[in-house]
């Protein structure tokens, strides 16, 4: 296209220079990537996704099916960026990738922010309707947010030659903007798209904060900002978009939407050399009128209607434009690069084709209101068969459509509608009365004639006529889908991909639905279009994530001892949000070597472990014991102060939920410990029952996980270490028995010491306030040196407990395992507790349930290995169980594990098999307690 020196809203005195496919292109300040490329003479943007056909710019806005590009360099590059939203600036780098982009491989160097806001009335769309709505609501006193996705307010006014109040509509727009910007209760956000509407007035906006500027001018600002706004009322004034017509080779670069051609003229001063207009309605006559006014040759307007009339038609005729009524364009002819060189016009009631040369064909098949935001919250639409457009049907609470988005036509009519809707929205929010509101502006508009009902020009070659240009769906493709029995538009969409493009198929969906209706002889109203789903415009993952990346994605929890672990080379494991030492390699040790050494040290001398991450809940109150009795399978209430007891909790369905040791600190106070990952869930579970089932109980729950650091001193020499650390504490077996709890001074610190063992060894768990954890740890490490104390991590802890047959919640259990399956019959007391009734449901009494057993496999098995009965088997083979834990044991000198096996407890001594990819391993079933079955080591 050609640039007129005195037209458009671009700054003709300011040139900008950017790169397109590696070559330098000049544009003007105010250009978009699309308009600058058109001004440079470029017609073919790239080739289509499936058929590799040349494609060009179709319109002047984001509904364009082809105007996508790769923008940016390095890891800042973004694929499928809407070219009509890319503002040209010096240094902009873009590439022709119109339908398939490339993703960067590294971290995004750009920054994205988030913001929350509240308002009374949010207006989406800054055209005449949106501006009027925002003004009316604001002047009634409402807090208003007005958003528009363009750099300037005005909407359609920017792309048309329109008159309001007997003056160029621009004057009113500037006046309205001034009043809005002067009102402190109004927030105007340009370059901002409302892309999602949720429930209770939740609206998501994406603001382009600095991406329209050259990187050097961004001043450290975020590239984009995600706004999450909670509004009382939402006014959707998002305008309308034009429908194309379907004829052969309608995808040629140069075939454009008629409104887009006007927009390119009025926004950017771009004009064709010679432009044919083809239409079913009056609106496209504006294109002919405006182009002739700009000195462009318009050989004819091709109108499908037999007898077009009305003021716009007359104005065109008065300008000398030939009107070819009762005709349509049936095909187009290419130039050397495949762009438009001419069109072939045919009479709709027959006759010969006539060729007319042109470089642009301006097409109008009617207009579709943009009601996406209305549809996001379940808003319905109805097909108006006379005006051939959708109009909103019914209302959605808190959401009102205004102007062209509501199906209205005409600038003054849209402004009037917006004004009324703004008043009503303000009133609904409690501001003013719509009836007594400011006067309503007039709406004297040129009446439009009835449109012609035309989608596919009869006689069109179906193989080269595109219904969805973005997805390369032709008439033939749609026919094939319909002929295959895909009668529903949602099926049609999924089979052909019609309407699934990056531009959300805005130029395709209605035509596809109307073709389906025609094919089956149904009213289009019954067939409809496929659903509009959020987002209304594409948003990048990076801009949704904002700064919640890397270390800010999720909290990282560490104990006060963590720096020591880091300094001593621990390898860490994530357990929930906690970082726990997994193992402490020495020299070149790998995991297996370190674990064998750590386990041997614990069994033969003494080890130490940071147990601070275990969940801890302080349960206080007169009814604390009774409360815990209702939750644990065992009896807790009989525990004496100074004693501890192991407990298991079930969900109501009888499945094991969590386990841990409960310490009774006083008559009215317990300390419940939970698994590291289960602490939050257990506290929630307790609070739920306390608040909703047993509100009469006198019980208070406090999470104290992060208040206490705990160091476990474990192994036959642990008593010696304790004696050195706490000279005033009698740690002899008679004075300090298993499951005893003592308050004592340890290493000069006020501490709680408990004889708790998760390894079968003599063990002491020392707890001090979290602040003193590191001091305690260092003291234990120092005191243990004469005995060879060895720090160990979670992996050794797991091996040591597995040797003793102790299960781990989430490893041996998976929500389908009861205490009875685990062999914990002795822990299930004869009293009511949550889940008890489930333990005698018929399914729990089945004699073939999977039960926890120990296994001695011939080689170490992968955890999760399936277990079968026979060594020689044919697939499919019944699976009788699976390996839940599998380790190499230092104490046993061999691999071992735990497994859940059908009737496992009755099968101890039998051999079963684990089929691996290339061999089958024999597995002996043994008692879960593999090491120290008599428990001789517990007391040292």
């Amino acid at each position: 296209m050609r640039r007129l020196p005195d037209r458009g809203r671009v700054d003709h005195d300011h040139r900008v220079s950017f790169t397109w496919d590696g070559r330098t292109v000049e544009g003007l300040r105010g250009d978009t990537l699309a308009s600058a490329l058109l001004a440079s003479g470029l017609r073919v943007l790239g080739s289509s996704v499936l058929m590799s056909r040349p494609r060009g710019v179709v319109t002047d806005g984001v509904c364009d099916p082809h105007a996508f590009a790769q923008v940016g360099t390095g890891d800042a590059t973004e694929p499928l960026v809407r070219m009509h939203q890319v503002e040209c600036h010096d240094g902009l780098v873009a590439e022709s990738r119109i339908h398939r982009g490339v993703l960067p491989t590294g971290a995004d160097p750009d920054r994205f922010e988030k913001r929350h806001a509240h308002c009374d009335v949010l207006v989406a769309g800054g055209g005449p309707a949106g501006l009027a709505a925002a003004l009316a609501a604001a002047e009634q006193g409402a807090r208003v947010v007005l958003v528009d996705d363009h750099p300037q307010l005005g909407g359609a006014v920017l792309g048309e030659d329109l008159i309001l109040d007997d003056a160029p509509a621009d004057h009113w727009v500037r006046h309205a903007e001034e009043r809005l910007r002067a009102n402190p209760d109004v927030t105007v956000l340009t370059r901002t798209t409302a892309f999602n509407v949720g429930d209770q007035g939740a609206v998501a906006l994406m603001e382009r904060v600095s991406e329209h500027l050259a990187p050097a001018h961004r001043g450290g600002r975020a590239l984009r900002r995600l706004w999450q706004v909670r509004t009382h009322q939402l006014v959707v004034a998002t305008g309308a978009t034009e429908r194309p017509l379907v004829f052969a080779d309608n995808d040629r670069p140069g075939v454009m939407l008629a409104g887009g051609v006007r927009g390119l003229l009025h926004r950017y001063g771009l004009v064709p050399e010679r432009c044919v207009v083809v239409t079913t309605n009056d609106s496209a006559y504006r294109t002919a009128i405006d182009l002739v006014g700009a000195g462009v040759e318009v050989p004819c307007v091709v109108d499908a209607r037999p007898d077009p009339s009305g003021p716009l038609v007359q104005r065109a005729r008065d300008l000398g434009v030939e009107v070819r009524s009762g005709c349509a364009v049936i095909g187009t002819d290419p130039d050397a690069e495949g762009a438009l060189a001419g069109v072939r016009i045919v009479g709709l009631d027959g006759g010969a084709e006539e060729a007319v040369a042109c470089d642009v064909l301006a097409v109008s098949g009617g207009w579709d209101p943009l009601m996406d935001l209305h549809h996001h919250v379940g808003g319905q639409a109805r097909w108006d068969a006379e005006r051939l457009r959708f109009v909103p049907e019914g209302t959605v609470d808190g959401l009102r459509l205004a102007g062209a988005a509501a199906g209205l036509v005409g600038t003054a009519a849209c402004r009037r509608d917006g004004h009324l809707v703004g008043l009503v929205a303000a009133e609904a929010t409690g501001f003013g009365s719509a009836a007594d509101g400011p006067a309503v502006p007039a709406a004297d508009e040129e009446p439009e004639g009835a449109p012609a009902d035309l989608v596919v020009v009869p006689g069109t070659d179906p193989v080269h006529a595109f219904v969805d240009q973005h997805r390369d769906v032709t008439i033939a493709g749609v026919e094939r889908a319909l002929g295959s029995g895909l009668h529903h538009v949602e099926h049609l969409k999924r089979y052909t991909l019609v309407g699934t493009g990056t531009e959300q198929g805005r130029t395709a969906k209605v035509n596809a639905g109307r073709m389906a209706a025609d094919r089956f002889g149904l009213p289009f109203a019954e067939v409809g279009v496929s659903n509009a789903r959020p987002p209304a415009q594409p948003v990048t993952f990076g801009s949704l994530a904002g700064r919640a990346l890397g270390a800010r994605f999720d909290p990282v929890r560490t104990t006060s001892i963590h720096p020591w672990h880091v300094a001593h080379g621990a390898v860490f494991e994530d357990v929930g949000q906690w970082k726990r030492p997994w193992y402490f390699p020495q020299g070149a040790e790998d995991l297996d070597a370190a674990v064998l050494r750590e386990c041997a040290a614990v069994r033969e001398a003494v080890g130490m472990m940071d147990a601070s991450t275990l969940g801890k809940i302080d349960v206080k109150g007169a009814d604390a014991g009774a409360f815990l009795d209702r939750l644990y399978t065992g009896v807790i209430g009989t525990l004496k102060p100074g004693r501890a007891r192991y407990g298991v909790m079930c969900k109501a369905d009888g499945m094991v939920m969590d386990d841990g040791v409960v310490l009774r600190l006083a008559d009215d106070r317990f300390l419940v410990t939970t698994t590291t990952g289960g602490a939050g869930g257990v506290l929630d579970w307790m609070e739920d029952f306390l608040q909703t089932e047993w509100p009469d109980l006198d019980v208070w729950l406090t999470s104290v996980t992060e208040q206490w650091a705990t160091v476990a001193v474990v192994g036959p020499r642990s008593r010696d270490v304790m004696a050195a650390l706490a000279p005033d504490l009698d740690v002899t077996q008679d004075a300090f028995t298993f499951m005893q709890v003592e308050e004592a001074v340890v290493a000069g610190l006020a501490a709680r010491v408990a004889r708790i063992s998760f390894s079968g060894e003599l063990a002491f768990e020392i707890s001090v306030p979290m602040t003193w954890g590191l001091a305690l740890w260092e003291a234990v490490f120092a005191a243990g040196q004469p005995f060879g104390i060895t720090p160990y991590g979670t992996e050794s802890m797991h091996v040591l407990r597995a040797e003793k047959g102790y299960f781990i919640v989430g490893q041996e259990t998976d929500g389908t395992v009861t205490p009875l399956d685990l062999g914990l019959d002795w822990m299930v007391a004869d009293k009511e507790f949550v889940g008890r009734r489930s333990l005698r449901r018929s399914d729990m009494l089945r004699d073939d349930r999977k039960q926890l057993v120990g296994i001695l496999p011939a080689e170490r098995l992968p955890e999760g290995s399936q277990l079968v009965d026979d060594e020689a088997f044919e697939i499919p083979v019944p699976m009788i169980g699976h390996v839940t834990s599998s380790y190499e044991s230092a104490a046993l000198g061999r691999p071992f594990g735990l497994a859940l096996v059908r009737r496992g407890r009755d099968r101890i001594g039998e051999t079963i098999y684990a089929p691996l990819a290339d061999r089958t391993v024999a597995v002996e079933i043994v008692d879960p307690v593999i090491f120290d079955q008599e428990g001789a080591r517990r007391d040292g």
């Binding site: 007035g201 939740a202 609470d397 609070e687 608040q691 949550v834 009734r837 489930s838 018929s842």
Partner: protein
């Protein structure tokens, strides 16, 4: 994203809350007196109707109180919130 009215704190965004399923399904007073079928009904069966539905929410990142909400499952309208122990008719 719902906006949910905590009866203690007022309206807040959904991420502050945890869902608790259908309301007014009490843990049976005497589970042992129930048949397997009656117990299974309590454990596994919940209403799943389109329309007004009484459900439990916990203001987990706020006051941590459990309360009940009447929500329209078809339109997502939040009809009202009320405290544990109150009946749905009390919803305002």
């Amino acid at each position: 994203m719902f906006q949910i009215r905590c009866p203690y704190c007022g309206p807040r965004d959904e991420p502050e809350f945890k869902y608790g399923g259908q309301a007014h399904v009490a843990y049976p007073a005497d589970p042992e007196a129930l048949s397997d079928e009656e117990w299974a009904r309590f454990l596994f069966f919940r209403d799943n109707a389109r329309g007004r539905y009484a459900e439990r929410w916990n203001h987990a990142a706020g006051c941590r109180r459990w309360f009940n909400v009447i929500r329209d499952t078809g339109t997502h309208e939040m009809v009202g919130s009320y405290q544990v122990g109150e009946q749905p008719l009390d919803a305002r």
